[in-house]
């Protein structure tokens, strides 16, 4: 196997030439990029609290696409109403391959996103809360949007970034109680057109989720038991047309609706979850766009109290 000039890309040898040509003819769709577990929570992060969430997500698609991502989400409570979020991501993706052909693949950091979330409305009751939280930030161009093989760009599914600083904004809302919870969010990533490379189209996402407690059905009178919850989540994504070297690719936009089923176990300090994702709708302008079959993921979330100086109480 030879190496491309870009160290992040491994391509096959002579047998790969035919595959490269076929791939480059395919639509530059990001349809199977697969989003990390980016459901934006509206739940509070305490002042001085640090929350770290590790995810591992795999994606299986046709034809012959496989990938996985390892996003890490870090949240910090700045003040009671304001939290800072950073989402770092690495991914591996592989396309093509077979008995006679080795696959194209790439492994690199994706664009990280930094945003702040502010709680504009909260209605807290006994064992229930309703919140509305707008958010805003940017995606930073740490990934690659010009990975090439044999002198031509790889499709969007193998690129790992947008090449530009992308404004990101949205809103999340949720109602949660001890018995069940419902939540929704809508976010928009505005992708400016980059001069060179593949420039993905702007992305609109909208998620809705419902969850309920499976165990224990009846809470003990005292103490803090571990909880097992089941969550059902729908993710709608709409991608605008992408650009290659500033030229619009009219057949690269698409719409997808995917369904998640997640099982979670949560304790006072950590939470672990496992889930699967199935596409319900995959509508692409290009007939050759890659289509996702199934995605599976696990995540682990840990909560820290950042080091602090204990302060004296205020005199009443």
């Amino acid at each position: 196997m030879e190496r491309c000039p870009n160290r992040q890309l491994a391509i096959p040898g002579n047998r790969g030439l035919a595959l490269c040509a076929a791939v480059l003819a395919a639509a530059l769709s990001r349809s199977v990029e697969g989003s990390p577990a980016t459901f934006v929570t509206a739940l509070p992060v305490a002042t001085g609290q640090l929350l770290v969430r590790f995810n591992f997500q795999t994606t299986f698609s046709t034809p012959e696409f496989f990938g996985f991502q390892t996003p890490v989400t870090i949240a910090y409570g700045v003040i009671p109403h304001l939290a800072l979020f950073v989402n770092l991501n690495q991914s591996y993706q592989s396309l093509g391959g077979g008995p006679d052909v080795a696959p194209l693949s790439s492994w690199a950091a994706r664009d990280p996103v930094v945003y702040v979330r502010y709680t504009v409305l909260k209605i807290d009751r006994t064992q229930a809360t309703f919140r509305i939280t707008p958010l805003g930030g940017v995606f930073l161009p740490a990934g690659e949007n010009a990975l090439q093989a044999q002198g031509a760009y790889l499709p969007g599914a193998l690129q790992t970034g947008s090449g530009t600083v992308d404004p990101y904004f949205g809103i999340a809302l949720s109602y949660n109680s001890d018995a069940f919870g419902v939540a929704a969010d809508a976010t928009y990533r505005l992708n400016p057109v980059s001069r060179a490379g593949i420039s993905p189209g702007s992305e609109l996402r909208s998620d809705a989720q419902v969850e309920t407690r499976l165990y224990p059905r009846k809470l003990p009178e005292e103490g803090m038991p571990g909880l097992i919850d089941v969550s059902l989540e729908a993710n709608y994504t709409q991608d605008a047309a992408s650009f290659a070297d500033g030229v619009r690719n009219a057949l690269s936009s698409g719409r997808t609706l995917k369904q998640d089923l997640v099982l979670e176990y949560s304790t006072l300090r950590w939470q672990i979850g496992i889930g699967g994702r199935w596409p319900l709708l995959q509508s692409f302008d290009s007939p050759t766009a890659l289509r996702e079959r199934f995605s599976a993921f696990v995540f682990y979330e840990y909560y820290f109290a950042v080091p602090h100086r204990r302060h004296r109480r205020r005199d009443s």
Partner: protein, 137 residues
């Protein structure tokens, strides 16, 4: 923990809150009803802020009642506003707080849900040093 062990712990705690002169020492106990907290993660938000409150030593978390019980260091006074501030800084609307003074055998931290907010006192370290010296010599 066995019943005998639990009883021993209760006696130790009871002894610990008595002064050398034999007078009973009181603690302030705060019981706060929480609004908006429905999950273990929400309770951890509260614990994070309680750790910042000087003299808060023990906390008991009750998920079903959405309530915390906080025991402070012996002889320390706290106000309801201190507990309200904890809930506010954790991101929640403060709920009603009740304050009590507890003494002696009523201070039992072996029941389900109690957790220590502070690190164990340095006494343990001193004990380890003494044990290490004995082993050496």
């Amino acid at each position: 923990m066995s019943a005998a062990g639990r009883m021993a712990l209760v006696l130790l705690v009871a002894l610990a809150v008595r002064t050398a002169a034999g007078e009973e020492v009181w603690r302030t106990r705060a019981v706060a009803k929480l609004y908006g907290v429905y999950s273990p993660r929400g309770f951890f938000n509260i614990v994070v802020r309680l750790k910042c409150l000087e003299s808060a030593e023990w906390v008991k978390l009750d998920l079903k009642r959405a309530q915390i019980t906080v025991d402070f260091e012996p002889g320390e006074e706290v106000s309801k506003e201190d507990l309200a501030r904890v809930q506010h800084e954790a991101g929640y609307r403060p709920g009603p707080v009740e304050l009590f003074r507890v003494t002696g055998e009523t201070v039992d931290h072996s029941a389900p849900g109690w957790m220590r907010l502070k690190s164990p006192p340095p006494k343990k370290t001193a004990q380890r040093v003494r044990m290490a010296r004995r082993q050496r010599g």
